[in-house]
Structures are given as structure tokens and as C-alpha cells.
Symmetry: C2
Subunit: 83 residues, 2 copies
DNA sequence: ATGATGTGTTGTGTTTACACAACGATTCGT
DNA sequence: ACGAATCGTTGTGTAAACACAACACATCAT
């Protein structure tokens, strides 16, 4: 498959919730380095792993992963009325 | 990663919309056989492919893919009030 | 000062998601 | 009766998602 790049907010959610890579990795059943690979975009997760990660953060998948780039955090917060 | 099985309703949506494997494959940019492999659970899609398929059917990802088994169509329709 | 913890990265394997070609079976249009 | 389209399946090859070990660097607690 020719792949257009995949965007994710794993690091964002992880920092927000104060959980380490090791914690997340353990929770979803992968190697801690795998989380690192995902965060820096070195490779794209399987759908299964994507679903597990989203489930761990208790948000819908498309809040964590998207084919289109995510808006900046500033914009997202502004739009959420959290200013 | 140790994987618990992945469920999908690709064939269901495909039949419902009257689209062939070739059509879907073409739309999401994979080989037609790949769709067959996915439908019969021979392997699990990448997150990218999962997102593309859900986007093609214009539904959220978790309507097409789930880590837990889907309810029977009968139950789903009953719950939807389509009886 | 030292040890624990989190992060970033690199390297070597294994497994699996894909591509692509090929074939048989069924149904449908003509 | 014939061909076209869809489906189901099998086989071979490649690229990428993983596992796991290892190491450098920073921060923080003791």
C-alpha cells in the first residue's frame, strides 16, 4: 500500500495524563520502544494497537490518530473555549 | 504484539452499499485480494487502511472495526428501532 | 556522588500486512 | 451457450510492524 503520512497525538495524551512510555506500553501490551517509534512517526501502528491506545486514553480513535495533520494545540483549545 | 482477535463488518457495509471488493480496494488503494483477506479475518489491517475504509463508508472507525465481537445484525437493527 | 526513572536512538531478528499472479466456482447478461 | 463480473482461495515475494537488547543523556531523589 502506498501510504500518505499518519499523524498521532500519543505523546500529547501521554504527557497530559502523566503516564510514561513504559506505562502505556505495558497497558497496551507492546515494547516501550515501540511507543517511541510511534510518537516520532517512525512507523504506523496496526489498527489493533491504535484501538488499544485510544481505549487506554478513553477517547475515540480519531482524536489520537488521523490521516490529516492535527490542528495546533493552541487552535484546538481556542476552539474548545478553554481560553 | 500478542493479538486478541479483531472483528470487522467490511463485508456487511460493502453488501449494504452494493460495492464490489474491487471498488473498495480501488477506493482505498489496495489490492482486491487484500479486501478478501480482511473480510475473512486472515489478517488485520493497518490503522491507515482501517481509517481509509471507515472514511470510504463515511462512518466512525469503531462501527467497522472492533476488538470485541459485533452484536448480530438482528440485535443491532432491533436496538435501532428498525423492526 | 550515585542510583532510579524517563527519554532518544541504534541495531538485529521475526512476524505479518501487503502486492501480484493465478486458478476454480458461481451468477448474470446477452 | 458463452463471456463478464464477483467471489473464494492459494502461492510467492517484499516491506514494514513489531520484539528485544543495548547505550547515551537528562533529571531528580537520596
Amino acid at each position: 500500500m502506498h501510504h500518505l503520512c499518519m499523524h498521532n497525538r500519543i505523546a500529547l495524551f501521554r504527557n497530559d495524563r502523566g503516564v510514561s512510555r513504559r506505562d502505556l506500553a505495558e497497558a497496551v501490551g507492546v515494547n516501550p520502544q515501540t511507543i517511541g517509534y510511534l510518537e516520532r512517526g517512525d512507523y504506523n501502528p496496526s489498527l489493533e494497537l491504535g484501538l488499544k491506545i485510544a481505549a487506554y486514553f478513553d477517547v475515540p480513535v480519531d482524536l489520537v490518530f488521523s490521516l490529516a495533520p492535527f490542528p495546533s494545540l493552541t487552535d484546538a483549545l481556542r476552539r474548545a473555549g478553554d481560553a
